[in-house]
């Protein structure tokens, strides 16, 4: 098993919560893991990324080499396009379609979504909408994780257990909402794949 994922978003969107769940699930399955994060200046609303590498063999580099990532998992549409050079030919882009507009020259959203749609392998999902449907708009990151989960070779139970453990502090209700959001994202991706 070897899975290289580029997580993308904007500083403040909390992509690291996704990385944390995947990390916990990986550890439970005795996988090796390296996860490089962006700290510092970019966290003030700049473009941020995290390189997450999982493998059953020791991992050397903290950074993913170009053209080797299986997934780009982005919580923002424009950001999903920033790291394409890392994606392998068969790799998938899984992205949220809700834009985060904090720059004056943010391009036309329709154009961005069209570019995403033209990629060979992609799943585009309105994570805010799906999250709201599941009971809490704030769980959109778990929707995104759910949408990416069919592409990551980790047992479903481990991912669920990891979600439970990171939200446990916030109470049973938060756990349930986030699990629901995760499953909604997962079904969306599975349906898209079957079409």
């Amino acid at each position: 098993m070897k899975c290289d994922i580029v997580l993308a978003g904007v500083g403040g969107q909390g992509i690291l919560s996704i990385a944390t769940v995947l990390g916990l699930a990986a550890i439970e399955n005795n996988l090796y893991l390296k996860q490089a994060e962006t700290h510092g200046m970019s966290q003030r609303g700049g473009a941020v990324q995290s390189y997450l590498r999982l493998s059953d063999q020791p991992i050397h580099s903290d950074l993913i080499p170009s053209g080797e990532a299986q997934l780009i998992l982005s919580v923002e549409p424009l950001e999903s396009l920033r790291y394409l050079s890392f994606l392998s030919e068969e790799g998938y882009v899984i992205t949220n379609t809700t834009p985060y507009v904090n720059i004056p020259d943010y391009p036309d959203v329709e154009g961005v979504l069209k570019t995403i749609a033209s990629l060979p392998h992609q799943v585009a999902i309105d994570a805010e909408f799906v999250a709201k449907e599941s009971g809490n708009a704030k769980s959109s990151n778990m929707v995104m994780l759910g949408a990416a989960s069919p592409f990551i070779d980790l047992p479903l139970e481990s991912l669920e257990a990891a979600i439970r453990s990171i939200f446990a502090r916030k109470g049973e209700e938060m756990v349930a909402v986030n699990l629901k959001a995760f499953h909604a994202g997962r079904s969306f991706a599975e349906q898209t794949l079957n079409h």
Binding site: S42, Q43, R44, H60, L84, S85, E89
Partner: protein, 530 residues
Amino acid sequence: MTHKKLLLGVEAIGQGAIDGGISGVYAYPGTPSTEITEYIQENEVAIERNLHRQWSANEKTAMEAALGMSYAGKRTLVCMKHVGLNVAADVFMNIAVTGINGGMVIAVADDPSMHSSQNEQDSRYYGRFAMIPVLEPSDQQEAYDLTLAGLELSEKNGVPVMIRITTRLAHSRSGVLLMEKARMENPISLPSDPMQFVLLPANARRRYQNLLNQQDRFLELSEQSVFNKFEDGADRSLGIVCCGIAVNYFRENYPGVSPYPWVKISQYPLPENLLKQLESQVDEILVLEEGYPLVEEQLRGFFQRGKKILGRLDGTLPRAGELNPDLVASALHLEKPVGQELQSTLVNRPPALCKGCGHHDTYRALNEVMEEHGKGKVFSDIGCYTLGALPPYSSIYSCVDMGASVTMAKGAADAGLFPSVAVIGDSTFTHSGITGLLDAVNEQSNIVLIIGDNESISMTGGQDSSALGRIEAICEGVGVLPDHIHVLESLPKNHEILVGLLRQEIAYQGVSVIIPRRECIQKLARRKRN
């Protein structure tokens, strides 16, 4: 007995220091070093033992306090980002000469590619300059192991030891095997030689000679270090020297066995014999190192009489910026996949001031007033407020080193520039602005100093500012006239008041300080959440 924990490189250093029995960490925040101290601040054992773990006013005060703790026989860790070592350079160079008593590790985090920094200086040069051992971990496990080893090495040899890491190791997470229990702290014990720390010339010469005498020993320790190693390879056309994390980028390209012989360096001074062993077998040598071409220069020598050395100086690798697996692949002439490509170029998304941040209010008022005076007359400093250099404000014209806004404004005023305005943050002011303000007061320089007080060290994540609520008292203590110190809440509704104050104080001939104050909104939000 050991157990495994998922840790960032910086956290591994913090854990290593706790397990190595430190009695205190001393630091001033700075990316990518900040989380070493934050990890210790939140660690259970550190709290239970009540290790010293508060932030210092700057890197110099941090290192000096650590020296005091070491003088008293206890082990310490000092942390900073690379440019912080410039601030601490005076004490740093001199403690190489005094030596230490309790073990002392100085963790310095470099930022090649300048993700969050003004430059990409390579701290290994400082280690060489001070002639002390430098450790450069290649991964999270070594960050932990070398912190433990560094404390031992330091205490046994009576010398401070530097651990140098770079951004990617600092902020990357991986599993680390930890000791079951932290070592006991040292008891208090004074240095056996009462003159050790007295660098009067006669004694300083003696101490310096002692440092020189130790150099052979440091070299021997590098030769024997388990963290430096030689691995053979069948193809002798090339040999590789990998320093620190560069070894991972090299091995990523040869996941099984390397065709070429290679050396891994994680302890300096450079192990001569190990490198000679490599050199004697190969035709050419490729040096892979994060930062400046320090090892490459040393291996080349001045006249370049030896074998050909490839690296950053001959263009095999870029001269600037951090390494990555792709750059190393191309230096090794390996064909690699290129990845998917996007036809159009993407707009950048640079960092920006948060919505609702008080610095907005300051820049809006400042721009309105400076409209009357023309561009180029506002000096600034380092912090969130530096983002005022970018659109939409484009208000400030300098960001050099912490504290420089005050003194540059003074110098420009000395030159006759009018008006001469400085914008600094509360933490940057207490870090290095106070002494500059004293210079300005002593000469009655015609400057207006704006201290954007968000009651927080925000750029590095919202640590507590060291002079909370006391900024105006400090200014008065330094000698600024009370009539020319103004504090106001930075809010849109106070816009006209701030504009008026700025006009009034620009008109005043002398030193004025205006302190727009409102808590950082990120810090406020965090406080409300917890």
